[in-house]
């Protein structure tokens, strides 16, 4: 027994020798920025002078900033396309995948390989593919006699960015839902069929409700993703046309480095995080259902 406690002591000593450096590192690279984040939110600063305490005026400014209102609407616009597109497409992909006869590996891989594309590279790829005289528009022109201003029409630009994000994430989200589908016990379907339920009823009354956790997961991931959009508009549209693809992160970046206002930029980041967090909580509260397989 004494041997054992000796081992325990030595073990704890090792533990402390790992934890303390970790805590020191975290204090510098997490604690220090955290303190700065709080300081910045309540001060006015231009990187050089002494920060001036301004109470809540950074937060109040957000509510009167017409650009923030524009960006909030843009974000809603992105959500309005992205959430339905992503949910329908990944649900379709997952359900179709359960019916596939052969080539499942190939299908999964080609959808997933889109997901590991680099943000910068795929933005460049699509901005060329969809450019006004690019290959897609040439094809459209020769087939139908018109071209589509994918990234230069304000509403279409939002839609096109959602389209390429959907291209990127369907493999990932679809497999989350696929895993959810596979976890539904087959016996439930058999019982329903015995009771004479038709395909439609089975889908609406069994599959969809039991998929709730996966669908919520995908929705939450897509919401978090939307609030973090930066690379695509930065690379493809530069926030335009008419500032319709300007996102919170683009605004944060511009405010901090072009308008030299890191305190307001940090406040925007904090509020963005809070809003996205609140939206996720709302979705969870209203749509999440506990699913138990008995």
């Amino acid at each position: 027994m004494s041997n054992c406690s000796k081992l325990g002591k030595k073990e704890r000593a090792f533990g402390y020798s790992v934890i303390f450096p970790y805590l020191a590192y975290t204090a510098v690279f997490w604690g220090y920025p955290f303190i700065w984040m709080v300081v910045l939110a309540f001060t006015k600063w231009n990187y050089f002078s002494k920060p001036q305490f301004v109470l809540l005026s950074n937060f109040l400014r957000i509510f009167t900033d017409s650009l923030v209102i524009r960006i909030a609407l843009n974000t809603l616009n992105f959500l309005a396309y992205l959430i339905p597109m992503v949910l329908f497409a990944s649900l379709f992909f997952a359900m179709a995948l359960t019916k596939v006869k052969f080539g499942k590996t190939f299908i999964m891989l080609s959808f997933l390989v889109a997901n590991v594309s680099s943000g910068v590279a795929y933005s460049l790829l699509f901005s060329n593919l969809f450019s006004i005289n690019g290959p897609i528009n040439r094809l459209m022109d020769s087939l139908f006699g018109f071209t589509i201003p994918w990234f230069s029409n304000p509403q279409l630009a939002v839609f096109s960015i959602c389209l390429i994000i959907t291209w990127k994430f369907i493999g990932y989200y679809g497999l989350i839902i696929y895993a959810g589908l596979l976890s539904i016990p087959q016996s439930i379907y058999e019982a329903a069929e015995l009771d004479g339920a038709d395909k439609k009823t089975i889908f609406w009354k069994i599959t969809l409700p039991l998929l709730n956790p996966s669908l919520i997961t995908v929705t939450v991931l897509a919401i978090t993703l939307t609030f973090g959009i930066f690379t695509e508009p930065y690379m493809i549209t530069g926030g335009g046309p008419m500032q319709r693809t300007t996102t919170f992160l683009i605004y944060m970046y511009d405010t901090a480095f072009k308008r030299i206002d890191p305190s307001y930029a940090t406040t925007v980041a904090i509020v963005t995080a809070l809003v996205s967090y609140a939206l996720v909580m709302l979705i969870r509260k209203f749509f999440e259902k506990e699913v138990v397989f008995v």
């Binding site: 934890i19 955290f34 052969f102 190939f106 889109a114 290959p135 956790p213 978090t224 690379t231 995080a273």
Partner: protein, 274 residues
């Protein structure tokens, strides 16, 4: 029953077609990077293939102050250092918080979960100020040191070590093994899939990182490829061929590591659901 079979055949064909449509952008990208400039937008199947865009990137781009080869090596250096460090630190800290019984370990574990609640962009400008105060702007440290360890990585290792019985550790201790030996020779081989998942996602995330290096790195010689490519496109967007060739080079390492570790990618997806 017959009808059902026909339906599933149709679905198979539709999905196969969609799968090809999904990789079509990649195929277009690769073929276009080998096409003569005037053919890029016009013909899908080129009349002749050329290496001029790659030659431009490897040989000429230096004259445009855009050293692509160096940027590729920078990315490789930064990404492999971060990935290696995250794996080592996550395994050690994960072991300490999951297998050693002391109070502070539990606190650290809870703190890690708390840390993961904050989205990264909240910390970006404060982190920029830290790097600036340290005098690290435009240095490799700025891109490496803040990511040397990852709360998510520690969390993943801690979760997977929790399932390994303590007997393994006790047996090794009686044989006189020290703690590092236990972590790297006993625990890590038993948590191979976790290590692969953490390694792969860290590699992909670091390679693909854009906003952070854009903020702290203005020196063309130390830029990672993602930022250099973006800045090249910013100034020379009309050089479509080299831009696309650069995009191919930027994509290759990510796709390669994905193809090598694809099984773990799928496991990672189902794990993140738990």
């Amino acid at each position: 029953m017959r009808k059902e079979r026909i339906v599933s055949w149709i679905i198979t064909i539709v999905l196969l077609a969609l799968a090809i449509l999904w990789i079509y952008p990649y195929i277009w990208l690769i073929i276009s990077s080998f096409k003569p400039a005037e053919d890029i937008y016009t013909t899908f199947i080129p009349k002749r293939l050329t290496l001029e865009h790659y030659k431009f990137i490897f040989l000429m781009a230096n004259k445009f102050q855009r050293p692509f080869v160096r940027a590729f090596l920078n990315s490789l250096f930064i990404t492999s250092t971060v990935t290696f460090s995250v794996l080592v630190t996550s395994a050690i800290i994960g072991y300490v918080v999951s297998k050693i019984e002391f109070k502070i370990g539990k606190y650290v574990f809870n703190f890690l979960i708390y840390q993961m609640l904050f989205p990264g962009f909240m910390f970006m400008i404060p982190m920029f100020i830290l790097i600036r105060n340290l005098g690290w702007l435009n240095t490799y440290q700025a891109l490496i040191v803040p990511s040397l360890t990852s709360s998510w990585g520690v969390f993943m290792f801690a979760q997977s070590f929790k399932t390994i019985p303590k007997d393994y550790i006790d047996a090794a201790k009686i044989d006189g093994a020290n703690n590092f030996w236990i972590v790297f020779r006993i625990m890590l081989p038993l948590a191979k899939s976790t290590a692969s998942i953490v390694g792969m996602f860290t590699f992909i995330g670091t390679w693909d990182n854009f906003l952070w290096p854009l903020m702290v790195m203005k020196d063309y010689n130390r830029m990672p490829l993602s930022v250099l490519l973006a800045s090249f496109n910013h100034e020379y967007a009309s050089y479509v061929g080299p831009v696309l060739a650069g995009a191919v080079i930027q994509t290759i390492p990510m796709v390669l590591i994905f193809l090598v570790l694809r099984e773990y990618f799928l496991q990672g997806i189902s794990m993140s659901l738990r």
